[in-house]
């Protein structure tokens, strides 16, 4: 009976000898997996990098910006070789109602040159480049191959993976699961036992072709400079948000929503994208764009409290598989967390191999390195923010209230004199049924988290 990867897979018990086919198997050639394989290969150990798609990135979709700073630790002067579409020099946060939009728009030329900050990229390019770096160091990339389950010894330690190739069992001293948001291997390993599951959002995206010069004009940029716009209030009250970002000669526009919220409103995700594309603040930007590709992916947005156990006997979890996407309102990041976690997982595997102990104890340096770095420090600090951002007030009341406040501020109602600012605030809050104590409570949560 052929085996397949999915929910509820079970492990196969094997008589594991000290001889293993390879030192490390990494499952998934995304940013986490390739960073892990790169570090293991660099240290001189044998490593196989499995990828279920025909090429790295073929199963991957993301929502905007790769923050490359962590790559400084992996690739000197990475910006000279990374397949970048545009360097983000304008970062906007837009809040909207169906007829209004209020934007905080920041731009800096400091991000237009080395060492840069964020970049847009197509995942098939980016992930292929990262996997190529690992291959150059000696990692063996095996595409078109699914890890369908774990191999365990009689004591329960993980000693390899089963794949869907003929004679596909592959034994290893360490398995690093970077198998993405559905993380079937981590679930099979029991890493999610007792953890809340299902904290995922659905991202849908359209990539629209437009001439490079048109994009430059519409977004007010030149050369390889680019723009990322994050949007709140564009999902008809379903928890989520939207985005528009520039590639070199295309735009990507999409929404991210709680998939459980769609049926209740009888809405489909592509209708929300169509809505956004028709919005008076967005339509002039995307007008005439020819659809190059429609895509979708789940995003693990639950944050710190929804992360699985990260270390087991012979087993590490990194990237989306470990729910490491950061969805904290003004910050939406994932690729950088995957790169960081994968890098530390690779280093922890190397530490463990060096002392000949790949048990949970031997691999414990992974958790320590994550704790001491941005990967878990940011997530711990911002653990309450996903709940705040996806709550009803932040999703519906505040965007509408802030847009009305701005309209009240700039609307000249002569012969009426201008209203006092405090009066305007009180009146706007009241009109939107927002209680002062909720504002204060949300502000405190915000200050405690972001402060």
């Amino acid at each position: 009976m052929p085996e397949h990867a999915g929910p509820g897979t079970t492990s196969t018990v094997v008589a594991a000898t000290p001889q293993r086919a390879v030192d490390v198997v990494v499952v998934g050639a995304g940013p986490a997996g390739s960073a892990a394989a790169l570090e293991v290969a660099r240290a001189g150990h044998s490593v196989v990098l499995l990828e279920r798609g025909p090429y790295p990135g073929s199963k991957n979709v993301y929502g905007g910006v790769v923050y490359g700073r962590v790559l400084d630790e992996l690739v000197p002067r990475w910006w000279e070789q990374m397949p970048v579409q545009r360097w983000v020099t304008r970062r906007s946060t837009m809040i909207m109602t169906p007829t209004q939009a209020l934007t905080v728009d920041f731009r800096t030329q400091a991000w237009a040159g080395p060492p840069y900050n964020g970049a847009t990229a197509h995942r098939s390019d980016l992930d292929g480049w990262l996997a190529g770096l690992a291959e150059k160091e000696g990692a063996v990339l095996v595409p078109s191959t699914v890890a369908t389950g774990l191999l365990r010894d009689t004591a329960g330690a993980i000693v390899g993976v089963r794949t869907d190739r003929p004679d596909g069992d592959l034994t290893a001293k360490v398995v690093i699961a970077c198998d993405g948001v559905n993380s079937f291997l981590a679930k099979e390993a029991g890493m999610f036992a007792g953890k809340p599951t299902g904290h995922v959002t659905l991202g849908v995206k359209e990539t629209l072709r437009l001439p490079r010069s048109v994009i430059d004009e519409r977004f007010g940029v030149a050369g390889q400079d680019g723009v990322d716009i994050e949007i709140l209030g564009c999902t008809r009250g379903i928890p989520g948000g939207g985005f528009v970002y520039t590639n070199l000669d295309s735009l990507s526009v999409g929404v991210v929503v709680d998939p459980h919220g769609l049926a209740g409103k009888r809405l489909r995700p592509e209708e929300l994208v169509a809505d956004l594309k028709r919005h008076p603040a967005i339509e002039p930007l995307v007008r005439g764009g020819e659809l190059l590709e429609y895509s979708a992916h789940l995003i693990p947005e639950g944050g710190y409290d929804t992360m699985p156990e990260l270390v087991g006997d012979g087993f590490l979890v990194a990237g989306d598989a470990a729910a490491m996407c950061l969805a904290a309102g003004i910050w939406l990041e994932g690729v950088n967390f995957a790169l960081g976690a994968g890098m530390y997982a690779g280093r922890a595997a190397v530490d463990a191999l060096k002392v000949g102990d790949t048990s949970k104890t031997g691999l414990a340096s992974y958790r320590r390195m994550l704790d001491e770095s941005f990967v878990l420090a940011d997530h711990r600090k911002l653990r309450r923010v996903p709940g705040l951002v996806l709550g009803q007030r932040m999703q519906e009341s505040y965007p509408a209230m802030l847009c009305d406040l701005a309209q009240g501020l700039f609307h000249v109602d002569n012969p009426q004199p201008k209203p006092g600012l405090l009066k305007l605030v009180r009146r706007t809050l009241k009109r939107h049924g927002i209680r002062t104590r909720d504002v204060v409570s949300d502000a405190l949560t915000g200050v405690r988290s972001f402060g």
Binding site: P54, S124, V204, A263, E270, L291, L292, E293, H297
Partner: protein, 96 residues
């Protein structure tokens, strides 16, 4: 379903698939017929779950994004049998 159906087919025609012989997801209509929420019909980004007149679900795996949304939103015990396609098959995004 409605007049926007051709437009959505245009969406899906922009995506590359290496369609496998094995349907990697199947639905059990015995369970679906008793479902009152039909979350999958709304949430599946590829619009692969189509309600039938007898209260069941018509499902075609061929243009699946393999995202996992259906198994996340499905509340019917045993309604979905969900796996990834075998290696090299299924969706292949170029602009993700």
């Amino acid at each position: 379903m409605t007049y926007d159906q051709p437009a959505f087919d245009d969406h899906m025609s922009t995506v590359d698939f290496e369609v496998a012989r094995r349907p990697h997801i199947t639905v059990n209509n015995e369970v679906c017929r008793s479902c009152r929420t039909t979350d999958c019909v709304y949430a599946c980004p590829a619009k692969l779950f189509v309600p039938t007149s007898d209260g069941g679900i018509l499902f075609n795996y061929e243009q699946c994004f393999e995202c996992g949304t259906c198994y996340q939103v499905c509340s019917g015990q045993g309604a979905l049998s969900w796996t990834y396609p075998d290696g090299g098959h299924g969706v292949a995004f170029r602009k993700g």
